[in-house]
Structures are given as structure tokens and as C-alpha cells.
């Protein structure tokens, strides 16, 4: 029993790590540019496919992750140039339609290019197999996800909290006017943030492929989960997103244990209940009204 619980906790943690990376990418674009990116799941799935093919190619396995990051960041950069950049100032309605349309296009292109079957990556030898915890087997790769995910999250936290660039982003999130008065080029700032966001989506997809595989439709599932993570966490708060990635990860994992058939239903409803109690998310930064 003890072992079973421990395994589920680790499952939840590895899932949370993926949610955290995708969620952070989505959240920073949402809170900095006030931009709803419904194509965020596409970056995740693209990252997954890249990892699957890279790991099958025989090239050094560990490079799959930086490659997925760079490739999706590049895709993000191109997309940001046209057409997304012109839509930061447009109403949310138009952003939603544009990015939804893009996600449908990417989904079809990826189905075209990578096929409709479920692809699982060939894991490198050192990450294959299981470890035993309280006599229960646990996939080694998931420990790797937990480690890599939280290490990346820590790096991101350092980036946002300890660097000059991070300070600028944080200042811009709480008050966009400030950055302009400081004479910082917001266009370049937004482009860089969007690239980072896309790259985070891609690298979490690359990490997640070994756990969730890659298949058409996964982009949408991940988008929904990332959106939940962002709203439950509260906009513009790093700590909130970390907390909510854990909450959502645990809620989904344990509802799968307890209500296998209605797992998503139970977890989503729990998250909605949480949002009813805290409409602005777990950690909402104080905003000045008027």
C-alpha cells in the first residue's frame, strides 16, 4: 500500500513537471502580452515528434531536448513575426480565433508529416527499465522527467528572479508603462518571451514523449491542461504556476486512480471548485484598480 501510494506520488510529480514547463510558457505570454495562445499545445506536440525522431536517429540522445527546445523556439519566432505580433493589441476574440485556426492547421500538418499512429520514443539504454521503491517498480525515465523538469524550472526561476532581463519582464507584467518609460524595446522583449514560451512547450513535449507518447489530438489535451494550470495558478505569478502544476498534476493522477472512467471529469470539476473559491487563482498578484 505504502509502495503503491509512493509510486502514484512520483507519477503525479512527473506529470506536474511537464505541466509546469508548458504552463509557464503559456502563462508568461498571457500575463506579459495579454495574449491568449491556443496554439501552445502545437509546440508541445512538435517537441514530442522531434524527440521521437531524434531518439530513433542514433544521434547523442541527450541532445534531443535542446534540439526540441531550439526548433520549437525557432518556429515560435517565425510565427511571432507573422502573424502573431500584430495581434498583441487586438481583442481577445481575434487572438482566440487566430491561434485556434493556427493550431488546427498545425495539427493537420503534423498528422500529414508524422502520421496518425501513436509514436513512442526509443529511450536511451541508461533511462530504460525500472527502479524498485518499496518493492514496487517505477519507470526510471519518469524520475528523469522529474529531475529535468524541476531543474529547468529552477533555471527559469533564476532567470526571472535573479537576472536583469527577468526583472524587466516582471516589471512589464505588473505595469507595461514602466518598461516603455525605461526605454526598453518592447517588440524585442515580446519576441524573446514568445520564443522562450514556444521553446518551453517544445522541451516539455520532448521530455513528455517518453511518458505520454505522441499522437494527433495530444496537442489539444495538453493545451487544456496547460490552460487549467495557468488559471488555477493565477496570472503573473511564478510561484502560483508551480503550485498549480503540482495541484493539477496530483488531482489528475489520483483521480485516475480513484475514478478511472471519469478521471478528467473529477479533476476538472475539482479545479473549477477551487477557482470558485479563489476566482483569481491560487496566488493572485495584487492589481491596482482604476
Amino acid at each position: 500500500m505504502m509502495g503503491y501510494a509512493a509510486i502514484q506520488v512520483l507519477n503525479a510529480l512527473s506529470f506536474s513537471a511537464l505541466l509546469l514547463l508548458t504552463g509557464l510558457g503559456l502563462s508568461v505570454v498571457l500575463s506579459l502580452m495579454n495574449f491568449v495562445n491556443l496554439a501552445h499545445g502545437s509546440f508541445y506536440l512538435l517537441g514530442s515528434y522531434i524527440a521521437v525522431h531524434w531518439l530513433a536517429s542514433g544521434a547523442p540522445w541527450w541532445m534531443a531536448f535542446p534540439v526540441a527546445f531550439l526548433a520549437t523556439a525557432l518556429a515560435g519566432a517565425l510565427l511571432e513575426r507573422f502573424p502573431l505580433r500584430a495581434f498583441y493589441a487586438r481583442p481577445h476574440l481575434m487572438q482566440v480565433l487566430l491561434t485556434y485556426g493556427l493550431s488546427v492547421i498545425f495539427a493537420d500538418l503534423m498528422r500529414w508529416g508524422f502520421g496518425a499512429q501513436i509514436l513512442s520514443p526509443e529511450l536511451p539504454e541508461m533511462l530504460q527499465g525500472v527502479v524498485f521503491l518499496f518493492d514496487m517498480p517505477f519507470p526510471l525515465y519518469r524520475l528523469f522527467i522529474i529531475g529535468a523538469g524541476f531543474a529547468l524550472a529552477l533555471a527559469l526561476w533564476l532567470l526571472f528572479d535573479r537576472t536583469m532581463w527577468g526583472a524587466v519582464v516582471r516589471a512589464a507584467v505588473s505595469d507595461r508603462g514602466i518598461v516603455e518609460t525605461l526605454g526598453i524595446d518592447t517588440r524585442r522583449l515580446f519576441a524573446a518571451v514568445f520564443m522562450l514560451s514556444a521553446g518551453l512547450g517544445g522541451i516539455s513535449g520532448a521530455l513528455g514523449a517518453g511518458m505520454l507518447a505522441a499522437y494527433p489530438g495530444l496537442d489539444e489535451e495538453v493545451l487544456i491542461l496547460a490552460l487549467i494550470t495557468v488559471v488555477v495558478g493565477g496570472l503573473g505569478s511564478f510561484g502560483g504556476t508551480v503550485l498549480s502544476a503540482l495541484v493539477v498534476g496530483f488531482a489528475l493522477t489520483f483521480s485516475k486512480v480513484w475514478f478511472p472512467e471519469f478521471a478528467n471529469l473529477a479533476a476538472f470539476s475539482a479545479m473549477i471548485a477551487l477557482l470558485l473559491a479563489r476566482p483569481n487563482g491560487l496566488i493572485a498578484p495584487p492589481l491596482r484598480q482604476l
Binding site: L102, N264, I272
Partner: protein, 310 residues
């Protein structure tokens, strides 16, 4: 005089089309009118309230399920079906309102999407009742007293009357104090509070009205489509409804029917011609937003004004 022009003209158009068109067209038009009515109910929220709901299909689809399930048990009497659809649409809208209307605009949109997904999860997984992924087929024929309404002509007339009735209601709603106040919350939410309006109660009422209309449309949908499945509550249908609305023209009400017709016609003709229909859907979204975000309705109005001037 003018107040009678719309209903009389509408009735005349319905009668003429019902006499002249063939079965295939009538069924297709009935589908346009029904989905168009649901899209128009969404226009009340988006066009007048500025409330971008990405979960409108949940209202429409759950009413469709409710009507289909009820029909399997008690037969498909028209007033009962409409009553159940309206009740279901309103009830789901009420729950949705409690969930989404407490948040700001950005959250509202995401919460509506999540709410729609919850409804989808129910429709997809509650197999005993909803038929799961297979949905529900083999529904009894719609009837009104002794008359059977299963043929394309009756269904078209029914859909036409529904659309016309809802258009009239929607117009009176927009002109009423409630509708004006809804516009007020879109333009100046803070001032509306300073005028003593309770924003939640105001938006909640609008959502109920919208849900009731979407529910009425949803109630007829299974009988025209002869099937209801989980796609009818999925958020991709919500997004499709929004694009239909934008193609038609946000805030025009009647444009919703135009946009629905344009979208469904494209789907029928382009879909038959390529297997990459999804790609075309995506391109349609992107092009609409890039090229004509104002929609067909305002384009037509502009043309009409130009024609009158010259």
C-alpha cells in the same frame, strides 16, 4: 408598419423556400437555421456583452442530448422537446454562469472552455445514457399532436419559425433595458457599477437568455441531423460557432445566419473535394481574422449604403 416587415417577410421567405426547394436543400437549410440560431444566441454574449464564451456548444449540445434522450423514452412531441431543450439550455447556462462570470474577461474565456470540456467528458464517458463516442441514433420522429414532422419540409419550416422567433426575441432583448445595460457593461463596466448595476446579475441574465435560445435550437438539432454525438458539445464546435459569428458579423444578429450558411456551405463543398478539410478550416479561421474581421454583415451594409448614395 416596419415592425411587421421582418416577421411577414420572414414568413413569406420560409413559405416560398418550403414550396420551391428540394429535400436535400431543405434539410441543409434547416441545419443552417438551427445552428444559426445557436450562433445568434452567442452573438448576444459576444457582440453585446463582450463575453467571449468558448463553451457555447455545451449549452447547445446538452440541450440536443436532453431532447434526444427524452425522445427515446417518451416519444418526440414537439412542445415537450422544445420545453426540455430550453430548460436544459437555461439550466446548463446557469451553472456555467456561476463558474465563469466571477472572473475577468481573459479568465472567462478559458473557464468557459474548461466548462465545455467538463460537459464533453460527461457526454463522452457516460455511455449508458449518452451512447459515449457513438452518440445517439435511431430517434423517433418529431410530432405535433397527430402530425408527424419528420420530413424535410416540416423540419425546414420548423427551423425557420424557430430562427425567426428567436431573431425577434433577440432584437427585443437588445432594445430592452436589459440589453442596453449589457452593452453598457461591455463598454464601461466600471461606470455601470458606479450606476448601481450589479454586473454579475446582469451578465447572468443575459447568459440565461442566450442559453434558452441555444437550448431551443439544440432541441431540434437531433431530429434534423438524425444523430447527436459528443462533437456537438465539444469546444471545437464552440470555436466554430465563434468563427461563424465573425464571418457573419459580430453584433448584427441576422449576420449569424449568413456566417453559418457560408461556413456550412464551404464545409459541404470543399469537404467533398479534399481530405485536408481540417487544414482548410484552420486557414478559414486565419484568413477571416486577417482579411475580414468585420464580417459579411457589415460589408453588405456598407455596399447597400453605397448603392443608395449613388
Amino acid at each position: 408598419m416596419n415592425r411587421l416587415a421582418l416577421p411577414l417577410g420572414g414568413l413569406l421567405a420560409i413559405a416560398m423556400v418550403a414550396v420551391l426547394a428540394g429535400d436535400f436543400q431543405l434539410r441543409f437549410l434547416a441545419e443552417i437555421l438551427i445552428i444559426g440560431t445557436a450562433v445568434m444566441s452567442l452573438d448576444l454574449l459576444i457582440g453585446f456583452g463582450g463575453l467571449i464564451s468558448l463553451g457555447h456548444a455545451a449549452l447547445f449540445g446538452s440541450a440536443a442530448y436532453a431532447a434526444a434522450i427524452a425522445a427515446q423514452h417518451w416519444g418526440a412531441s414537439l412542445p415537450v422537446m422544445l420545453g426540455i431543450g430550453i430548460a436544459m439550455g437555461t439550466a446548463v447556462a446557469a451553472v456555467m454562469g456561476l463558474v465563469i462570470l466571477r472572473a475577468g474577461n481573459l479568465f472567462l474565456l478559458i473557464l468557459a472552455l474548461l466548462f465545455g470540456q467538463i460537459v464533453w467528458e460527461i457526454a463522452f464517458h457516460w455511455r449508458d445514457v449518452t451512447g459515449g463516442a457513438d452518440g445517439l441514433r435511431g430517434l423517433p420522429t418529431l410530432s405535433l399532436g397527430p402530425w408527424a414532422l419528420g420530413d424535410a419540409r416540416s423540419l425546414f419550416v420548423l427551423a425557420g419559425l424557430l430562427a425567426l422567433g428567436c431573431l425577434g426575441l433577440a432584437r427585443s432583448f437588445v432594445a430592452s433595458p436589459l440589453g442596453r445595460a449589457l452593452i453598457g457593461t461591455r463598454e464601461q463596466p466600471i461606470r455601470m457599477q458606479a450606476l448601481g448595476y450589479n454586473l454579475f446579475s446582469l451578465r447572468f441574465r443575459a447568459l440565461l437568455v442566450s442559453g434558452a435560445m441555444a437550448g431551443a435550437a439544440g432541441a431540434l438539432y437531433p431530429f434534423v441531423n438524425l444523430y447527436v454525438g459528443p462533437q456537438s458539445v465539444h469546444w471545437t464546435l464552440s470555436a466554430t460557432m465563434i468563427i461563424m459569428l465573425v464571418i457573419g458579423g459580430v453584433g448584427s444578429l441576422w449576420g449569424s445566419f449568413l456566417g453559418t450558411a457560408a461556413y456550412l456551405a464551404l464545409q459541404t463543398y470543399v469537404g467533398a473535394w479534399t481530405d485536408r478539410w481540417q487544414l482548410c478550416v484552420g486557414l478559414l479561421f486565419v484568413l477571416t481574422v486577417l482579411v475580414m474581421p468585420q464580417g459579411l454583415a457589415s460589408g453588405l451594409l456598407r455596399l447597400a449604403r453605397k448603392a443608395r448614395r449613388s
